[in-house]
């Protein structure tokens, strides 16, 4: 019996000891399979590129690795994935994606003092998940505060109709849009909520038309946006469309019916001539043959954040643990992200200037209103 116990302890110790003791491991709980696997691929491309650059620059004393676990974008699977990363890989820094997953694993991060970073979800509920939960993507309510005055004052669209998915993000947008439009002198003439799985929108289109709006704001995400835009246009809604940064995915940009639609996004000055932005842009284009989108950007920046904090900790001679990373972040004023300089608020969210873009032919957008 004793021998068996000893053997088990030995086995556990050898499995638990990280294979490369000197390397830095960050974790990522992404959907690698399941209906949202494509997002997982997009996020990973940003993460991998950042890791490559950081190692090439020798920013850190040790090599940086990223360990991926499959969350399938579901909360229960996310918890299993995060558990593996925290308890087996023993990483102090985990990248998260999808709000449901983030909410489920945040308590684990809090309990185990492991930092968790979101670069994809934009719901306001992501701001209240504890000290160890950070966001490198500005949350959606800020975006509305830029879009509303733009539509009313600069474009003269006073009556806005809203189609939204009835989750915390959508609900926040209803509230924000209502107040912001009023403040700018406009009006929210109708708000119509849709389920996340809806595919048929002819009825919604009829109701939107009924309110006689000047413009229509869409708060949805993923593939549903494509269907929504197409069917609104098919069913007689010819008014201009507006949305938040979720529009910045290839399927929406490439859709002919999206032409002319406005969307907000965090300020990314792609023409910013600093070497960081330039290199990221060029290398990404070389590798994947397309321009990086907002999600790639935010996860790239999330890895950059780790590198900056870890480098500072190394200089101060402190170990790179979750607790120290948090303290270091609080002590750092600004971060050089790709395309912009940002700062973290106390609740772990970033404030970033917002710009308004308009979709043109061929899946490109142009900036129509500089960030404020």
């Amino acid at each position: 019996m004793k021998k068996l116990l000893a053997a088990l302890v030995l086995a556990q110790a050898s499995i638990a000891a990280p294979a490369l003791a000197a390397d830095y491991n960050i974790g990522a709980a992404f959907p690698l399979s399941g209906p949202n696997a494509e997002y997982g691929q997009v996020f990973s491309s940003g993460v991998n590129l950042a890791v490559e650059h950081i190692n090439a620059d020798k920013k850190l004393k040790n090599k940086l690795n990223v360990v991926y676990e499959d969350s399938q974008a579901l909360p229960t699977q996310g918890v299993i994935a995060a558990n593996k990363l925290i308890n087996v890989t023993k990483t102090p820094y985990v990248l998260s994606a999808f709000t449901g997953v983030s909410k489920a694993i945040a308590p684990l991060g809090q309990r185990n003092k492991v930092v968790m970073v979101n670069g994809g979800g934009v719901g306001p509920d992501l701001a209240s998940l504890g000290e160890y939960f950070w966001n490198t993507i500005p949350l959606a309510n800020f975006e509305v505060r830029t879009m509303a005055p733009f539509l009313v004052k600069e474009k003269g669209y006073k009556r806005i109709a809203l189609v939204y998915v009835d989750d915390p993000l959508g609900q926040a947008i209803v509230k924000e849009l209502g107040t912001e439009l009023k403040a700018a002198g406009g009006e929210l003439v109708g708000s119509f909520s849709i389920p996340t799985t809806a595919q048929q929108f002819s009825g919604i289109a009829a109701r939107v038309r009924d309110t006689k709006p000047d413009a229509v704001y869409i708060a949805s995400y993923g593939n549903q946006q494509v269907q929504l835009i197409k069917q609104l246009r098919d069913n007689g809604v010819s008014q201009p469309l507006a949305s938040y940064s979720a529009f910045a995915i290839p399927s929406v940009l490439a859709l002919p019916e999206s032409k002319g639609a406005y969307y907000t996004s965090q300020l990314v000055n792609w023409d910013k001539n600093d070497p960081l932005t330039k290199r990221m842009l060029e290398d990404y284009k070389k590798k994947y043959n397309k321009e990086p989108n907002m999600y790639v950007l935010n996860y790239y920046n999330a890895v950059l954040t780790f590198a900056e904090l870890a480098a500072a900790l190394e200089k101060a001679g402190k170990p790179v643990t979750g607790e120290n990373l948090l303290a270091q972040r609080k002590a750092t004023k600004n971060f050089e992200f790709v395309g912009a300089t940002v700062s973290f608020a106390d609740d772990g969210t970033v404030k970033s200037p917002i710009q308004v873009n308009q979709i043109e032919d061929g899946g490109k957008s142009k900036i129509v209103s500089a960030a404020k």
Partner: protein, 294 residues
Amino acid sequence: MLAYLQNIAVLFCINAILALTLNFIMGYAGIFSLAHAIFFGVGAYTAAYLALHVTDSLLICIAASAALSAVLSMVLALPALRVRGEYFVAASLGLQVIGVTIFSEWKSVTGGLGGMIGIPPPKLFGYTFGSQASYLTLAFVILLAVLGITALLVRGSFGRSLMAIRDSESAAQAYGKHVNAVKTLSVAVSAGLAGVAGTLYAFYMSFVNVEGFMLDMSILLMAMVIIGGTGTLFGPIVGAALLMALPAALTYLPFIPQSELGTIQQIIYGLAMVLLMMFRPGGLVGGRSKEKSA
């Protein structure tokens, strides 16, 4: 490493309870339900709501979730069971769909699509189940209790009535069995215990949202029961273990691309269901005969 294994073990206990309770009506009573995830969900939301707003006493939460799930199931069962089997399938499918909509929309109670976070750990007679190890013990004890209850019911006269009804309703009725009452009661027991699993889940995850209770979950549970073997006591447990281990096992096969793991997994259990029904309807544990061996 230990914490990781404990995590898997707790989730296994929860899934095993769900599979056992589903098998109770599917395998022994011959009643086909596609809404098991909803009863799971009702239990979870009840416990979450009570824990966040009223009390974190384990006993009260378990009792409340079991009761609510059971009552809800009777609302479904009473009208549907007096007609034909297919009607219950349709009604349960309807309940699954409406249940998801209600979970997503009743924001004041369920938190809507955002769900409920920050559920505190449960308390029993002053002891708080805060650590992972204590929780695993709790989950395991409840699993044993459910197994015991199921075994008792199945081997007793209630179980015999059930199986008689499953094999031939008209004969059972001729023998004086109250067919409808027995069927409804079995559905209530099954749903109530699924509600208990929901309580476990809510306390463990500290977070509930609708994503854990959708049609995919009901289908997964059905697969666990069928592949493990209906009408056997240990079949569902085997099924639960197998289907939970499948995703991890698949990662060891190098020729499967990462992004397709989920689909391959589903194809495997879809195929397993088809092939098993063709050649071995009793499932892995049950064997050739679909007739129970309790």
